[in-house]
Assembly symmetry: C2
Homo-oligomer: 212 residues x 2
């Protein structure tokens, strides 16, 4: 047992700290719900406090300003993917199907998860946010590249398909699809559009399969 | 000779009107250069007037406010595609290669044409513009769909490829690619990324061709 864990057991969990973590997560989710709909410039800490049901001061205790809230939402979004990958890995799919399943999960998140919706919108509005946001697309590109390289090493990628190139192209198609769906139909057709992308592009990547 | 043309000849060209058209186009281009770099909220009519080398009043003579400038830039962008299509049609390519050439042209424009760069940025910032912009992606989808339907009717599309679906997916991949390239590398790698998308996706659409 590492020393940190032992002393944690000796001290026992700190209920104040636990509550602070939950409060912070609640504020973050409420902020995301507003950012997702109104965008960064039209969201205020007052709006967030009202939705959370706290005073502005209580919100400021966790996030010193609106910039830090935006950064935290985007960081929360990016922390999602390693967890999701671990879950999906647990299903024991092939690397290529694991990649498809990651996109399936992201498509769900675009429709149902305010952190995903807000994080993506904030990235598009980064020019108006006076803080450094984590670089977009980089984690996804590395995650999908890794899976497609594994697929190649197992002979599951079609001859001549470069895993890094295929990762960039599938990510471009996926994010372009969701962006257009959001702009034209508030994402109402997102699932249908994603199935279209998946159906057209993924069979091309797969070894030993008919062209369609 | 149609009557309009005849009377135009009789009256001769109106030099004042001609100059007004050129001035308007010049203002539009200068505005696009600033919108493309700073975005809508951080661009002012004063900035535009300075770049044009005119008074603010002279700019207001052509565009009553910043909203109308933004709308005009986006309209100017969208008026580009029918002209480009006519030019590309003149090359006598197959419908599928005409579609590819339209994307090639758009990739060039993303790197070199401030109207394209500004128009796309303004669409992304439409939540902050208090005016109705023309709907994005719709013209492109219809243009590429039409070409791919022609390709299908000539037997040039691969069996089972639906032209409308393929139009949506190629447009998603193209616009997603440029968006990521813009965000990560200020479009420095755009041409390379477009070639990647083209190389991976288009062979799939074409009838009677090896898978890669």
């Amino acid at each position: 047992m590492p020393p940190g864990e032992k002393s944690q057991v000796l001290r026992g969990p700190d209920p104040r700290q636990d509550r602070a973590v939950r409060t912070r997560a609640h504020i973050l989710r409420c902020a995301a719900e507003i950012f997702a709909v109104r965008g960064y410039p039209y969201t205020s800490i007052t709006d967030v406090a009202q939705r959370v049901g706290m005073t502005k001061g209580a919100v400021y205790f966790h996030f010193p300003n609106k910039e830090s809230l935006a950064v935290a939402v985007v960081e929360e979004l990016y922390s999602r993917w390693p967890r999701t990958l671990e879950e999906v890995r647990g299903k024991g799919l092939s690397p290529l199907d694991t990649a498809v399943e990651m996109f399936n999960d992201a498509a769900d998140a675009f429709q149902n998860d305010p952190i995903m919706q807000a994080g993506t919108r904030l990235q598009n509005e980064r020019a108006f946010i006076d803080a450094e946001l984590p670089e977009p697309y980089v984690d996804w590109t590395s995650l999908i590249s890794t899976l497609l390289r594994e697929a190649r090493d197992l002979g599951q990628l079609h001859d001549g398909v470069d895993p890094d190139q295929a990762a960039r192209v599938t990510i471009a198609a996926f994010f372009g699809m969701q962006h257009i769906s959001e702009n034209l139909h508030r994402r109402a057709d997102l699932k249908e559009r994603w199935l279209e992308v998946r159906e057209l592009i993924f069979p091309l990547l797969r070894a030993h399969e008919g062209r369609r």
